[in-house]
């Protein structure tokens, strides 16, 4: 039992390859993996992959394990006969780890998501890239964002990313946000002329800023508004001088029925004067016109907006018996007879609402060539009240308690996306990068979200920026002809998922039609396509195929086979040792315990024989 003296290198190998070290590494890996599955369950697969399986420390543990196994194996070289199983097992584990390394380094595992009828010539792999395309010469430059920062879950300033150069343009990554939401803000830095105003229609002191762009009507609360830029001073002067607009809108009609006698009057006339009902001795006058009638807090009818959502009038009949007020709704002509039982028997009132022309907007902001700013209020779509505006100074509006203010006035406005960290963490993450885009002296910073390309013009050259998955080109075109879900008869259980694809490869002799289905992949051009998933979208199927090319796989499989054989050989060796020990034990006369072998004897002799 005295250990034979060992050479120094062998002793070092023994130490590095010691079982204690192996046991510690195995247990660390084991605990790490167990925790990873819990994290995967409570958070997501992506998080588990990034924090555990694909993390540096995990790789380091695997490397240490490889070193440990290699040392343990080398320390026993040259191998005795009883060590064949041991050597085969441990060399096989090294082969498996080497194969895994090959897979990780040069293996390709990507995805194609393709809709029926579509053709693709590329697939994506889970590597993030930043792409800049010059739109004028279509020059495309991409860099991989492969540092750990981009796989992490923390915002990182100046993450380690290569600088991207496309011609004169230089793009650097300033910040990485793992999970973002996007809003837009307006900045005054558009190289082209692009005027915009920020206005507010709100109670004094409580501004509610809204940006108005030309030809894009927006709502100021409930009032539609539009913005016009006029480069012609004369046209501006003409509009400012206008007091009414008449763009062909139809007046409303007030209809009165008195015992079969019918009267119809224009609404605008009834609003101005009391109109006599022939010689009945009555007059009718419309006190109010409410385009958007609504029941107010004290049960009175109030106007909620100037949009003809629920047009109504309040009319006053004056006659010998006194005065009486009536409400009529354009959309509910029977309302009066349903709700006012005590009303005068004779009179029935109805009305049709005035039809505004689609072009008339109650608020129009005008901007002239010299920054002259006016607002035209056209609350009833007809009469115009024009006010001159200066920045930040409120003017009264026709809407009670609401003042109108122009807050900012940009001649070179541009919508710029602003990206902020998402909180709470969304289920599907939306990473974003802040980029510094510079060209010569000019430099600006922009946010770019993943999968949402954006365009920008630098030195009059339009560029497209994109942050997405890396695409790998195929040497052939792949078309999804159709996707079918086979069902088991008499039920809804899926039986098969099949993608009928056409591969058009001029090198390999033109088109061929193949079927990719579950457990029956299709290989072509060095890649193998596996049916992975599908989704129904807008009436057609999108099929997801896994694309793989893995030279490491065969290495791993060789390792697998070696490992299985090795462990069986080890078992065989142990059985032989046990048999031999049993013979020895029986010869010295030990008696078994209901068995021909004593456990104690076996254990002792095993100790001897397994001592290496």
């Amino acid at each position: 039992m005295t250990p034979t003296p060992m050479s120094a290198p062998r002793r070092t190998l023994r130490t590095i390859g010691s079982l204690w070290f192996a046991a510690i590494l195995l247990v660390l890996l084991l605990v790490g993996m167990a925790c990873a599955t819990v994290v995967e369950s409570s958070r997501s697969t992506e998080v588990a992959q990034a924090l555990f399986y694909r993390a540096e420390w995990f790789t380091l543990l695997l490397c240490l394990l490889a070193v440990n196994i290699a040392a343990a194996t080398l320390a026993r070289y040259p191998f005795a006969k009883k060590h064949i199983g041991f050597a085969l097992t441990h060399v096989s584990i090294l082969v498996i780890l080497a194969g895994a390394l090959v897979t990780a380094r040069i293996g390709v595992n990507g995805q194609i998501g393709i809709a029926e009828g579509e053709t693709t010539r590329e697939f994506t792999v889970p590597v993030d890239v930043l792409t800049v395309i010059n739109r004028t010469d279509s020059n495309e430059v991409a860099v991989e964002l492969d540092s750990s920062a981009f796989r992490g879950f923390q915002p990182v300033d100046n993450p380690d990313a290569p600088v991207l150069m496309n011609g004169d343009l230089q793009v650097e990554v300033l910040r990485f946000l793992p999970n973002s939401t996007m809003a837009t803000q307006v900045v005054d830095e558009n190289p082209a002329l692009s005027p915009a105003v920020e206005v507010s229609l709100a109670p004094a002191g409580r501004e509610q800023p809204v940006w108005l762009f030309p030809e894009k009507p927006a709502m100021l609360g409930v009032v539609p508004a539009k913005f016009r830029f006029l480069s012609d001073s004369n046209e501006l002067a003409r509009l400012v001088a206008e007091t009414t607009v008449d763009r062909g809108e139809a007046d409303g009609v007030v209809k009165i029925d008195y015992g079969g006698l019918k009267f119809e009057f224009p609404l605008s006339r009834c609003l101005e004067e009391a109109v006599p009902l022939k010689d009945l001795g009555y007059t009718v006058r419309v006190l109010r016109y409410l385009p958007h009638a609504n029941v107010g807090p004290d049960n009175k009818l109030v106007n909620a907006s100037d949009n003809p959502i629920n047009p109504a009038i309040e009319a006053e009949f004056v006659g010998p018996e006194g005065t009486e007020r009536r409400i009529a709704f354009a959309r509910f002509p029977d309302f009066g007879s349903m709700h006012k039982g005590q009303q005068k028997e004779g009179f029935k009132i109805a009305f049709t609402a005035p039809q505004k022309s689609a072009h008339t907007v109650p608020i129009e902001v005008l901007l002239g060539p010299e920054d002259e700013t006016y607002v035209r209020f056209i609350p009833d779509g007809r009469r115009v009240v024009t006010r001159e505006l200066s920045l930040g100074e409120p003017v009264d509006s026709p809407w009670p308690n609401q003042v109108f203010t122009v807050l900012r006035r940009f001649k070179h406005a541009r919508m710029e996306p602003v990206v902020t960290p998402a909180d709470p963490e969304a289920d599907t993450r939306m990473p974003a990068v802040r980029l510094k885009v510079s060209s010569g002296e000019q430099s600006s910073a922009v946010w770019l979200q993943k999968y949402r390309p954006s365009t920008m013009t630098v030195n009059k050259v339009p560029y497209e920026l994109a942050y997405h998955r890396k695409a790998i080109p195929l040497d052939f075109a792949l078309t999804l002809e159709s996707f079918t879900v086979g069902r088991y008869p008499g039920g809804n259980r899926p039986r098969s998922f099949e993608s009928q694809i056409t591969i058009d490869d001029p090198v390999a002799g033109g088109k061929s039609t193949r079927v990719v289905s579950m457990n029956s992949p299709v290989a072509h051009g060095g890649y193998t396509f596996y049916q992975q998933a599908y989704r129904q979208e807008a009436g057609r199927a999108i099929s997801f195929l896994n694309v793989a090319r893995d030279p490491g796989q065969i290495v791993v499989f060789v390792g697998y086979i070696g490992l299985m054989i090795g462990m069986i050989v080890v078992l065989g060796t142990r059985i032989v040792e046990k048999r031999r020990a049993a013979r020895n034990v029986t010869s010295i006369g030990a008696v078994g315990l209901g068995s021909p072998v004593t456990g104690a004897g076996v254990a002792k002799l095993q100790t001897v024989s397994s001592k290496v």
Binding site: I24, A34, V39, G486, A600
Partner: protein, 606 residues
């Protein structure tokens, strides 16, 4: 007066069917049982359909002792009566109060439930939930009830029994027999009129006519052209399988075998050894026969879901026991195999697992890997389960007779062989799984939780096998490196687990203790404890991934359930068992010799 009469008539109409709700008792069902129908993607005999439907509705196929075929035909032929009868059990009190159902009533009629507004509202709310939403326990119960009501509705509308074949299409949908419309004359021998006659004979409990008509009906349907129809032999096989219920019979036989084997521990006679062996073979043979029947009925290896995997678990124990008996002449081998085999089969039989043969999902189809991977994995679990039984026996032996090291060492040796073989089988299982994944998904390893946990368990067993044979002097620095690495791992892992809760702290502390035991202890007691820890990793792989983590690519045909709670409950009991026996052993053991150099102090004391 007339009004009162009308009211009485209504009351009578409502009460009359209740008294009429009687099932025919004299009928010979042999022929009609074999009626080939289409059901859930298969073509089973009517008998299987009836067992499935009646089991789903009432919770037991032989409800109130009546044949399921009788139940199914009664519901089909006389829906108006059976709509009013209490058939659907809702035994959970909390569920009843949640659904505002009467507190004392446990069984409800179709009409009652369908007309019950709160249930209606719940089902309605559930249907509006977005897809992929993980249902809470109440929601899954509600959806269960809703599905059962749909099933029963289908029976009442005669949409469930579908014996009329699609003439040309092998995968076509078969049709129910629709009664001819009024006035439409049908030939005397047509299936419609035979069906109508069958109904009359059934409702009249007319045995002679029923036998005659059912024979004619089955013959008429068998004569119709069909795109696909199973052979009569196959139908006979399935009827035979349903009738003998081989797995229940097998586990009962195994219990018998275990009792015999236990007696064999005392009656150490050769002739009794033969009896023990025969007893063991009876259970194992029945199970193998049942598996082969199920295999031919399904047309594929029965290894596609939890129920079928439990069958293989039990079978693996028997198969390994036969091998072990050749190599190890130990009386305890047939005992453990019978006992554990019976346990696994009884679990398959008694747990709420779906025992019916169902079509399999696409990824399991058209591949030889399922036939290799699943049986190998299950046999490895079987062997490791037998190993863990020895580990428990070891603890008991050491606590009961701390001075008798011989028995303990004997058990230890057996245990060693079991986990050695089990680990090899587990490795083969993992490797074949990996190869299957490569052929189906294009990658041989994807860190899927099932894959990961199987590897975790394998690595755990490897530590046992390695530490056991290691007698090398441990350098001092190994402790330092080990402590450093463990501390580093905790520093890396702990912040990633999110906010700390009491249970998480407890789990982490348990993990650290487990790590220390796995790495730092030696000796027979330690090996037994480690083996138990590793087997819990196997259980985590087998059921925990599906029921505790509830995700991953391997969740085929698993439902929700109280499985996770049970797992933790039994785990807790086991933990208490280990702790108690270890303490007893320490209290009673002979004075410890001085620790041999090079082992941890704690290791030496074990």
């Amino acid at each position: 007066m007339s009004q009162a009469m009308a009211m009485l008539a209504t009351v009578l109409a409502a009460t009359l069917p209740l008294s009429e709700a009687e099932l025919p008792t004299s009928l010979d069902l042999t022929t009609i049982r074999g009626l080939i129908v289409q059901h859930d993607g298969r073509w089973p005999p009517l008998d299987t359909l009836a067992r499935d439907v009646v089991g789903e509705v009432t919770g037991e196929a032989f409800h109130q002792g009546h044949d399921p075929v009788v139940w199914l035909l009664a519901w089909t032929f006389d829906p108006s009566t059976w709509r009013q009868q209490p058939l659907l059990p809702i035994r959970n009190v909390e569920l009843r109060s949640e659904l505002q159902l009467p507190e004392t009533q446990t069984v409800f009629s179709f009409t009652e439930l369908v007309g019950h507004q709160p249930l209606h509202d719940q089902i309605d709310a559930l249907s509006r939930k977005e897809q992929g939403h993980k249902p809470n326990p109440l929601e899954s119960k509600v959806s269960e009830i809703s599905n059962t009501l749909m099933t029963l509705q289908g029976v009442f509308r005669n949409q469930t029994i579908k014996p009329v074949p699609d003439a040309s299409n092998a995968l076509g949908t078969w049709a129910p027999i629709v009664a001819p419309a009024h006035g439409e004359s049908s030939g005397g021998g047509s299936v419609q009129s035979l069906w109508a006659s069958l109904k009359e004979a059934f409702l009249a409990d007319d045995a002679a006519r029923f036998a005659d008509v059912s024979g004619q009906l089955v013959a008429a349907l068998d004569a119709m052209p069909a795109g696909h129809r199973p052979t009569r032999e196959l139908i006979a096989t399935e009827l035979h399988y349903n009738e003998i219920n081989p797995f229940r019979t097998a586990w009962m036989a195994m219990v018998g075998g275990a009792v015999l084997a236990a007696l064999g521990m005392w009656i150490r006679q050769k002739w009794f050894g033969v009896i023990v062996f025969v007893g063991f073979l009876a259970g194992f043979g029945l199970l193998s026969y049942g598996l082969s029947l199920r295999w031919s009925i399904a047309g594929r290896i029965p290894a596609a879901n939890m129920f079928e995997s439990l069958l293989f678990l039990s079978w693996g124990m028997g198969a390994f026991a036969i091998v072990a008996m050749i190599f190890l002449h130990q009386r305890v081998v047939p005992l453990t195999a019978s006992a554990m085999g019976a346990l696994a089969l009884a679990l398959a039989d008694c747990l709420p697992l779906d025992p019916f043969v169902r079509p399999i999902v696409p990824v399991l189809r058209d591949t030889v890997w399922m036939s290799i991977h699943v049986p190998v994995i299950m046999v490895s679990y079987s062997v490791l389960a037998l190993g863990v039984l020895f580990a428990h026996v070891q603890l008991v032996v050491m606590a009961a007779a701390p001075r008798n090291r011989q028995v303990a060492e004997n058990v230890d040796t057996l245990h060693y062989w079991y986990i050695h073989v089990g680990s090899i089988l587990l490795l083969i299982g993992i490797v074949t799984g990996s190869m299957w994944a490569a052929s189906s998904w294009g990658r041989y390893w994807g860190w899927d939780p099932k894959e990961v946990w199987s590897l975790v368990a394998f690595l755990g067993y490897l530590t046992i096998l390695h530490v056991r044979i290691d007698h090398q002097r441990v350098p001092k620095w190994a402790y330092a490196v080990g402590a450093l690495l463990i501390a580093a791992l905790m520093v890396v892992v702990v912040p990633k687990l999110g906010p700390m809760t009491g249970s998480k702290v407890l789990a982490l502390a348990g993990t650290v203790v487990g790590m220390l035991i796995l790495v730092g202890t030696r000796g027979m007691l330690a090996t037994a404890v480690k083996s138990i820890i590793c087997f819990w990793m196997i259980i985590m792989t087998y059921v925990g991934v599906n029921y505790v983590l509830g995700m991953g690519l391997h969740s085929y045909g698993f439902g929700t359930g109280a499985m996770a709670d049970w797992m933790f409950f039994i785990g807790g009991i086991d933990l208490g068992f280990i702790a108690a026996l270890t303490l007893i052993y320490f209290a009673r053991r002979p004075q410890a010799r001085r620790a041999s150099p090079g082992t941890l102090p704690v290791a030496a004391s074990l």
